[in-house]
Symmetry: C2
Subunit: 469 residues, 2 copies
């Protein structure tokens, strides 16, 4: 190490998997049995007593090792960098990662490689926020607009958003930021909950959890739909009657439908007053979403958790294809690309209601919405962050929900760090949980069929109970 410049010394990766499939938490029409997993990354430095940067890509089980391999393939871009320089300008690293001409072929800017870039970039932001002594939302909200514009890659965006327009939006966004910060710290940011609505839950559990959500202060719930129309009609009726007429109820098809089917199905549920229909079709289908939106109004159309990058978000907005933009903290190329998406949404006047849940997605994405409120859109009207009460107990700085609102984090960083004992226990396949698991992971359909009875009966699985804060 030349002189006293602190450097990134290692990019350590971990394959962490939670056996969530055993309780049917997280079950939807496209994902019947997810094992929520993280391809987890720690940036280590030689700064004496200095913090580490934590980040992760979220997956749902099988293939998490491929995601880990992709993060590993990026390490040469990171190791040896000056900690000070990379934290002062994460955008340079982000552009270097996206611009690696050989790795780019594996996307470009989509899928496994792009999520790996997001994990590394987010870990840098975690490091930067820790070194700044601020929660990430605050670091972003207090940053100079010019600097924020420099964090965005405008390539393939300028027909919808130029750097000059972005700068205007950010300058306007700062007016009144101090007041909004105070309001945020006091009251938090509105949340909605998906916990009642998993497809694998029976009507009693749905009723109980829906009523509980309202009692807990949530003003919106969400139901998974799309597997069977009769079931969905019944479940929507059950849920509507549990929450009453004034609580918003969204439905989420997780990409199951073709365009005509999405229109037909959504209309069939219209009598229960769904607020939005989420992922009605392929996340790649901009024109399909536009056709659906025209046909199902006043039901709103929402998508984004699987939208691979800013270029597809741009088109969803250009084509008037969505009413709600659902960013995901771990799908695109990290904070930098999500800044681009937040700016695009602001430019088109479309509210951002993040996707969260899984493992750690709530922890991350709250920071982006809070920045958006304080220093960009300036409002929480018609804006909610998804909340799911799973797996928060594994994080050092877990989200805190009060009266249906996310409490603003105050600890420095991006809230990304998992507890060391959770990392050790759920590392796959060598961690204590998996090593002791007689079934191992079920890698084949036959395995799953064989294990089915045991799993479906496992109502009190180790991780099924989220921390209900």
């Amino acid at each position: 190490m030349p002189g006293r410049t602190a450097r990134v010394t290692a990019v350590d990766t971990y394959d962490i998997r939670f056996p969530t499939s055993r309780g049917l938490d997280g079950s939807d029409a496209m994902n019947p049995d997810p094992d929520y997993s993280a391809a987890y990354v720690v940036l280590r430095t030689d700064a004496e007593g200095g913090p580490e940067g934590h980040g992760f890509a979220f997956t749902i089980g099988r293939g998490n090792e491929v995601q880990v391999a992709a993060i590993h393939a990026l390490r040469h871009h990171v190791v040896g960098r000056s900690v000070e320089e990379v934290c002062a300008d994460p955008g340079t690293l982000y552009r270097d990662l996206v611009g690696d001409s050989q790795l780019r072929w594996l996307g470009p800017e989509k899928g496994v490689l792009h999520m790996a870039i997001g994990a590394v970039v987010n870990a840098v932001w975690d490091l930067a926020a820790k070194r700044a002594g601020k929660p990430l939302w605050r670091l972003l909200a207090e940053a100079e607009p010019e600097w924020l514009v420099g964090q965005v890659d405008f390539r393939h965006l300028t027909d919808a958003l130029t750097p000059g327009e972005a700068l205007d939006l950010l300058r306007r966004g700062r007016r009144g930021a101090a007041e909004r910060t105070a309001r945020l710290l006091e009251g938090g940011y509105p949340a909605y909950t998906t916990s009642p609505g998993w497809l694998g839950y029976d009507d009693d559990k749905l009723t109980r959890l829906a009523a509980r959500a309202v009692a807990d202060g949530f003003r919106q719930i969400k139901l998974k739909v799309g597997a069977d129309l009769d079931d969905d009609v019944r479940r929507c009726r059950v849920a509507r009657s549990a929450v009453g007429p004034d609580v918003r109820m969204a439905v989420d098809a997780n990409q199951r439908w073709d365009v005509a089917e999405a229109i037909r199905w959504t209309r069939a549920l219209a009598e229960f007053g769904p607020y939005w229909v989420e992922e009605p079709t392929s996340p790649d289908d901009v024109l399909g979403h536009a056709a659906i939106r025209r046909a199902v109004a006043p039901v709103k159309v929402a998508t984004g958790e699987h939208v691979p990058n800013r270029i597809v978000f741009k088109q969803l907005l250009q084509a008037d294809a969505v009413d709600i933009v659902q960013i995901d903290a771990a799908r695109v190329g990290g904070v930098n690309e999500n800044l681009a998406v937040l700016l695009l949404a602001a430019r088109y006047g479309v509210p951002v209601c993040p996707h969260a849940g899984g493992v750690g997605l709530c922890e991350l994405v709250q920071h982006l919405s809070m920045f958006d409120y304080v220093a960009l859109s300036g409002t929480t009207e018609d804006r909610v962050i998804e909340y799911v009460d799973h797996l928060h107990e594994h994080f050092l700085d877990p989200v805190v929900i009060r009266e249906g609102h996310y409490t603003a984090p105050t600890a420095p960083g991006f809230s990304a760090a998992m507890r060391p004992e959770s990392i050790a226990r759920y590392t796959y396949p060598g961690g204590a949980f998996w090593a002791a698991d007689p079934g191992g992971t079920r890698n084949t359909a036959e395995d799953r069929a064989r294990d089915g009875t045991r799993e479906r009966d496992g109502t009190a699985s180790e991780t099924a109970k989220g921390r209900a804060v």
Copy 2:
């Protein structure tokens, strides 16, 4: 093994890399120094004396190990399957792979995981064609229309193409197939060549290779553009003067431009009469391509080598965004998804001119165009397959070009199999070539800068000379 049912016994993978960056073959505005690579897969069976199935995903160097890991992650879907069943209906395996609910999260249907699916599915088709004793194009062209329709996944397509419409297209396509087969076997399928036009070549080399292309019988060449407008104007002038007014000249920007820039740049090159402009902007930008196409006519717009799946191709056609559909044999989910794209293109009356080059892409994709000619579109008018004279010497059944035409393969299979000695020599990092290479792979920008002089001087690199058939 129960009874005498032959099974798939192994999915073996190989990380194969060729040091093509050393001769600047393959250099373009987005990919200055590719090392053409294959994440290669061999399906082994216990059928006595039976063939293996070969396939691969194409990458350009770094990250090929991630692509290999993704193929490895699919093996449990393949090992143990009945060889006869999987060959009689590759569509079932294809749907199982795409439908793996946990792996799906890593795409969905895009990037590393999807290319891995393509490699495995293509290996199955190679196996099926070998067992049928036919080259793949012929197996497809002689298949029953009903069976072909069953090979296609219509999910997210039916607003543009229904199974019934596909069946009609295939039934109509068969009329006159015998005559076209005879014509194809006699005269081959038209090719165009990109060999003269790499960005790293100087004007003399461009002139020499362009004139040579015409002398060899090609009626179309292609130039890489997009790095510097003045250079491109000069190079287009040089190339046009070398080939004369009657040979078509396409230009390829490899995604470098934003929409306005693409329009401006293409118009600046219009005086040289480019036939098409390829990848003018992000492959994800359907609306951007549509805007560019409206603005640059009569120059045609072509894209597809990085289009991740059939859903984006669908939209390019729905939005009148392209004049030319460029399928790639190894980007989407294999033969099955390319069947969908060929059917979509036929439905919209848009010619398909495949992307090829790299390593082995010519060998694969010729089969798809030949099927399209014999049994679907029924014509080669305004249709050409890209040809690049690199690395064919590594294949057991390499493409044969005569008078600017691809000769129809007659050997059974998908022409995917590499020579065993090439696999051994170029396996990374342990193969004889890489083990002996003092520079290793250059994994960092610093390494590349350090090695730059040596590489740029290496005009007679081991693999720079393609077999000019």
